[in-house]
């Protein structure tokens, strides 16, 4: 502890009385007490040749700023037409909101707030929380530090003042005179010093607790419900005849997740709409196509409508069907899109407001502190006045999403491990297991591209090699669409043919939506056999 005592002390020369001064009792008028030290430079001019007094090392510089700088350049969707911005507009606000750590043990208590939208996967959600927080978030939690100031500092000092005073009674029994009185005064000064330190800590702890509680409430309080950016959606093509739907979750890199019309119901469900609407529209279009094919197989009808006597092609039938579908469903579809956008904006605004509130709380947080007076008897040789550098909350990064959005909320259950603080030790090389403490992709803190094993950007160049690769390759979609020209491009029949071309395009994440393509085409939908003109209002 007293390592500094062995070093020659250079400061406070002025406090040394002139040689030959009386040893005791006849001291010359005391020099003024040491000026209330406003900082170590004033107190000890020789101690700080360069460093400013109030900057312990460099934690401020290395505290989490904008973690994006740690990541490799972020790739957008390779489809130049894609309307989804590369970065979700709510990302930065969310990072600012979640990166504050008010209390311990939050990782598995937070959960995406229900907003009628899709959810991130369990992995992506925990990884996102972990990424924006320090490697060991609990150690940097405001609550833990606040409690330590009380328990490990102020609490230990709490009875010192009284003990210093009460023991003086005993001392007075065996000592008296001027020296004793001077000593007694020094003890009183010491008590004042102790009490002032405690007062500062208590006041600061009160403020820290207020900030902690405010941030905790902003982050959902006991419910842990915290808004999560809803995936962006862009439709490649018109709604009635789309090639694919681009789903782009927040913090996605590279090509968007593409859902083909094969997954129309799933896409609508992800968007919070009724999946049945997709089924209905697809069936309706199919029905109308068949209707027109059938209707114009009659020379009478062709002649009546002045069409080419050879009849109409399937494409022409589809165009007619789409006109019908637009008339029938445009309002409904537009409402669904508008509703999605509205809910998405609500989520974004919720995140934005919470981010603003977080910022406001932190901007007004105050600590109470001042350098205290101390008795002149204090020996500066035992003052190590250079504050130690704190460990900044390092290891924060921008999240990196890698999974398809889900209809199910994240489980929110801590891994079954006796040591939930360091579950990455159980992960070995399983990428998807990296949840707490950053996981394999986030724990390093270095942010080197090579250390991101789950980078979805890999899927943008090499089809289907990485985790979360939904598509075999985006090129398969237009190719399949072209191949499906014989049927209505927007219909389930076309989807089936696309599925046939792309065989097993979807990853395991959409198994409930998978259809056996050939069966689907040939038998399952019976798409050329069920037209009942008696039920067709357009017949």
């Amino acid at each position: 502890m007293s390592d500094s005592s062995s070093e020659p002390y250079q400061g406070l020369d002025g406090a040394t009385p002139a040689a030959g001064a009386p040893a005791f009792g006849a001291a010359p008028p005391a020099p003024p007490p040491p000026a209330p030290p406003s900082g170590p430079i004033v107190t000890l001019p020789g101690e700080y040749p360069e460093a400013p007094p109030f900057q312990p090392s460099d934690p401020i510089v290395t505290l989490p700023g904008e973690p994006e700088v740690c990541l490799p350049a972020r790739m957008g969707c390779s489809n130049a037409e894609c309307g989804n911005p590369t970065a979700h507009p709510a990302e930065v606000d969310w990072q600012r909101l979640v990166s504050a750590v008010p209390v311990e043990g939050q990782l598995y208590r937070l959960r995406p707030k229900e907003a009628g939208m899709s959810f991130p996967s369990e992995t992506d959600f925990r990884s996102a929380v972990s990424a924006v927080r320090p490697e060991d978030p609990d150690a940097h939690a405001i609550s833990r530090l606040r409690e330590a100031w009380t328990g490990e500092v102020a609490g230990r000092l709490a009875d010192w003042s009284e003990r210093i005073k009460s023991n003086l009674t005993d001392l007075a029994e065996g000592w008296s005179g001027t020296d004793f009185e001077a000593f007694e005064t020094a003890c009183d000064q010491t008590r004042e010093l102790v009490d002032d330190v405690i007062d500062d800590i208590d006041a600061t702890v009160t403020n820290l607790q207020s900030t902690e509680e405010t941030l905790y409430a902003i982050q959902g309080g006991d419910s842990g419900d915290i808004p999560y950016p809803a995936a962006q959606v862009w439709i490649d093509g018109d709604w009635h005849s789309w090639v694919s739907v681009h789903i782009r979750p927040a913090w996605w890199h590279g090509d968007c997740i593409e859902y083909t019309c094969q997954d129309a119901e799933h896409v609508l469900a992800l968007g919070g709409a009724e999946p049945e609407m997709a089924t209905e529209i697809i069936d309706y279009i199919d029905e109308r196509v068949l209707h027109y094919v059938d209707f114009y197989s009659s020379p009478v009808n062709i002649d009546r409508d002045g069409l080419d006597p050879r009849g109409i092609t399937v494409d022409e039938a589809k165009q007619l069907a789409i006109v019908d579908a637009m008339e029938q469903y445009s309002t409904q579809v537009t409402q669904a899109f508008t509703s999605y956008e509205g809910r998405q904006n609500e989520v974004n605004e919720d995140i934005g407001q919470r981010s603003t509130d977080t910022d406001g709380e932190e901007r007004t947080m105050r600590t109470i502190r001042s350098d205290k007076d101390y008795p002149a008897v204090a020996d500066p040789a035992y003052m190590d006045l250079e504050p130690p550098a704190m460990d900044p909350p390092h290891g924060t990064q921008s999240p990196l999403a890698s999974d398809d959005p889900s209809l199910e909320p994240p489980a929110g259950e801590a891994p079954d491990t006796s040591d939930p603080v360091a579950p990455e030790e159980d992960d070995d090389d399983e990428v998807s297991g990296g949840l707490a403490s950053g996981g394999p992709g986030f724990g390093g803190g270095g942010g080197m591209p090579g250390s991101l094993p789950s980078a979805p950007a890999a899927t943008s160049t090499a089809g289907g090699v990485g985790p979360g690769a939904g598509m075999v390759g985006s090129a398969a979609v237009p190719a399949a669409a072209a191949g499906g020209a014989a049927a209505a491009a927007g219909s389930r029949g076309s989807a089936a043919m696309m599925g046939g071309a792309g065989g097993g395009m979807r990853g395991p994440g959409s198994s409930e939506q998978d259809r056996e393509p050939d069966v689907d085409l040939v038998e399952h939908e019976n798409m050329w056999g069920f037209v009942n003109e008696d039920d067709d209002p357009y017949a």
Partner: protein, 112 residues
């Protein structure tokens, strides 16, 4: 008062008491700031208010409290040395300590 007998044992008891305080300060309290729980900076997050204000406020508090605890540490060492000196000199302290002690009489009298 002036005629009371000088009892080195009483001074020694108080010296021991101060040594205990010093040991707690140097062995438990200060290490918490330097290498223990309080070595960690709080995670206020990445918002501008955190980096521009909260983090700075906290770092200043940590540094200031560190210095105040060092003042306290130096004070305890000084008081212990003064008592030791008095024990060795039949109730008087050497001129350095005496001077420092007496200077205190000009200080505020909150506790006197």
């Amino acid at each position: 008062m002036a005629t009371r007998a000088f009892d080195p044992a009483a001074l020694e008891r108080y010296r021991q008491f101060l040594v205990e305080l010093l040991e707690e300060l140097e062995g438990d309290i200060i290490p918490s700031l330097r290498e223990g729980t309080l070595k960690k900076a709080p995670a206020f997050g990445s918002s501008p208010g955190a980096t521009e204000n909260a983090t700075v406020e906290y770092a200043d508090f940590h540094a200031t409290t560190w210095r105040n605890l060092q003042y306290l540490r130096g004070t305890l060492h000084g008081l212990i040395a003064g008592l030791q000196s008095a024990i060795e000199n039949n109730g008087t302290v050497d001129h350095q300590v005496a001077t420092d002690l007496l200077r205190l009489t000009e200080g505020d009298d909150l506790y006197t």
